[in-house]
Symmetry: C2
Subunit: 343 residues, 2 copies
């Protein structure tokens, strides 16, 4: 435990016969310090092995160069890519990124938001837990002028920054694509309707059917809790056991869509001839499964980048914290063999 004593600006001040404030200013490139002095001081700092203490600076400034992330789970392709985008953008600006996962539990989300607040994060990026209804726990950040960016799974009522995709249009287009391929009985794997993303995708699906004069059959709409592989398998079996099974499936995520492909294949169903399938997210598994899965892009890295930028900009704009600024990104359908009937 023989820790070397840390070098502070006081040590440099003593060494160079300057005052600590001059050192502080020089290290921060303050305009009132001469270029020459700055050079001398920075050189000495380097030689003496000085390392700034961000903790002290943050305390003093009452804001830290840290972005807190509050998401459901890290180890999902969309989420880890989102985080990656946030981290890259934040780091370039000298910001740290603290992550926390709620595992889709409301309680965890509240607890984690407290810890992040206590760490005095300079901004917060959130994708809501499946369970979350009440969003009062974010008020504390707003009270302190700490910017919040909701990404993907956003609340309907809380005014703040939001970065989303156009889930309605995506759902509409995915369904329309299946219709274009000749599907007439299209099923939908829907996610928890509490979250906007799944609700909007379903709306798009319903409207596309209506628009093309196709009946809406409740038996063909399966609500899944998490759209897991197992749920997808179960749903597929249920659909295929129907007297009139569907000839197309639009799944609100790729995991369930892939399980549908595998499950249907096992039962001897030809894809896409008997059953065309399209997913959502463009996860890596989508292009690996056989036949490759058609899907809808979900620009995770871009969303992460924008979310981080919102927070970085917020300082400069010294913006009003009560306005809602929503960024809507567009998505694209990727047509692969799982739905390509017409060559």
């Amino acid at each position: 435990m023989n820790q070397k004593k840390e070098v502070t600006i006081y040590d440099i001040a003593r060494e160079l016969n300057y005052s600590p404030s001059t050192i502080s200013r020089a290290l921060n490139d303050h305009k009132s310090i001469s270029k020459k002095t700055i050079k001398v001081i920075k050189k000495a700092a380097l030689e003496m092995g000085y390392r700034p203490n961000s903790l002290a600076a943050s305390l003093r400034n009452n804001r830290s160069n840290t972005i807190g992330i509050l998401i459901s789970r890290i180890n999902r392709p969309f989420m880890s890519t989102l985080i990656s985008g946030i981290e890259e953008t934040a780091r370039k600006a000298g910001f740290n990124v603290i992550i926390s996962q709620s595992n889709d539990s409301y309680e965890n989300e509240v607890d984690n938001s407290k810890v992040l607040y206590d760490s005095r994060v300079g901004g917060l990026i959130v994708s809501l837990a499946m369970e979350t209804r009440n969003i009062e726990h974010f008020q504390q950040f707003r009270d302190q002028g700490i910017p919040i960016v909701f990404v993907d799974r956003v609340p309907k009522t809380f005014s703040s920054y939001k970065v989303v995709i156009d889930n309605y249009t995506a759902g509409y287009n995915a369904t329309k694509h299946l219709i274009d391929q000749g599907c007439r009985r299209i099923a939908h794997f829907a996610g928890a309707q509490r979250r906007n993303i799944y609700e909007d995708r379903k709306k798009g699906y319903l409207d596309a059917l209506s628009e093309y004069g196709l009946p809406i059959d409740k038996d063909l709409i399966i609500h899944a809790k998490t759209l897991s592989f197992e749920e997808g398998e179960k749903a597929t079996n249920k659909l295929l056991d129907l007297p009139h099974p569907p000839d197309g499936i639009f799944s609100a995520n790729d995991t369930a869509a892939v399980s549908a492909i595998i499950c249907a294949k096992k039962r001897g169903i030809n894809i896409p001839e008997d059953l065309a399938i399209i997913g959502f997210n463009d996860d890596p598994i989508a292009s690996i499964v056989d036949p490759p899965l058609s899907t809808v892009t979900h620009p995770a890295a871009k969303m992460g980048k924008i979310a981080a930028q919102r927070i970085l900009e917020h300082d400069q704009k010294n913006a009003d914290n009560n306005l809602s600024e929503v960024t809507v990104l567009s998505t694209e359908i990727i047509v692969r063999a799982s739905s390509k009937r017409i060559k």
Copy 2:
């Protein structure tokens, strides 16, 4: 910008006619404060909307409840699961987790290590960048008694905590498995030999061949930089173009192994009859590809949990920071259809 004033222990002290020290002690359940006083103070703190400032506490204590993570990339199945394991364990103990990715660049790794140091992390968890040779940038942490845990991609010489799998045995067993299936010309997709994990896997491969009296053919060993999908494809084509193509491939990761399956299938090769394939990591794509890929487990979540525990324990043990403590986890072969020749 009308930020509410934050409530501090001074405010509570004034309100209750106690001294700030008593408030501080009460909030930390100090033994010398009566149960009753603690209760009163905590109640008041809650009512007044007090939130502790971890920044101030960390500054004062000269150590923060934060674990820094330094890895190559977040959005890989192994890495995101590793982080998830770290985060869960850390959070239970009240620790935050800061992430930073090097993108396998040495320069980024050095820069990030500095930023994490400046943030006065209480511990560091590292998986080395591909490029990294020199590891001097970790010395600063050791000098300050800050524990470092290297995970998976570890340095050979730096003494500290390490959490790894037995890559040699895994490589040996994977190769032996192919031999058991009747393979006699087994190729190997090897990763960058600078990193222990790939070096050891290759050694296991070589020793298994030798042990079973199989010749080592340099044409069958392909060194890839990143073992990407594209590299795997290229390598597979190269192998299949040989006068005597291999009848088995042991790939040091799943990505390249999956690309081998897809590429070989395209060329009309039967898997596993003509070509048996085994990968490494048990990524989600491994069970999705057709035929499903045999592979070697990589206990990411467990490794993350152990790594975090090492750091959490370190405080209590107030251990010497110069000893090396290596945890080696075992792995298992998962046999799937891509290599199962013998029923």
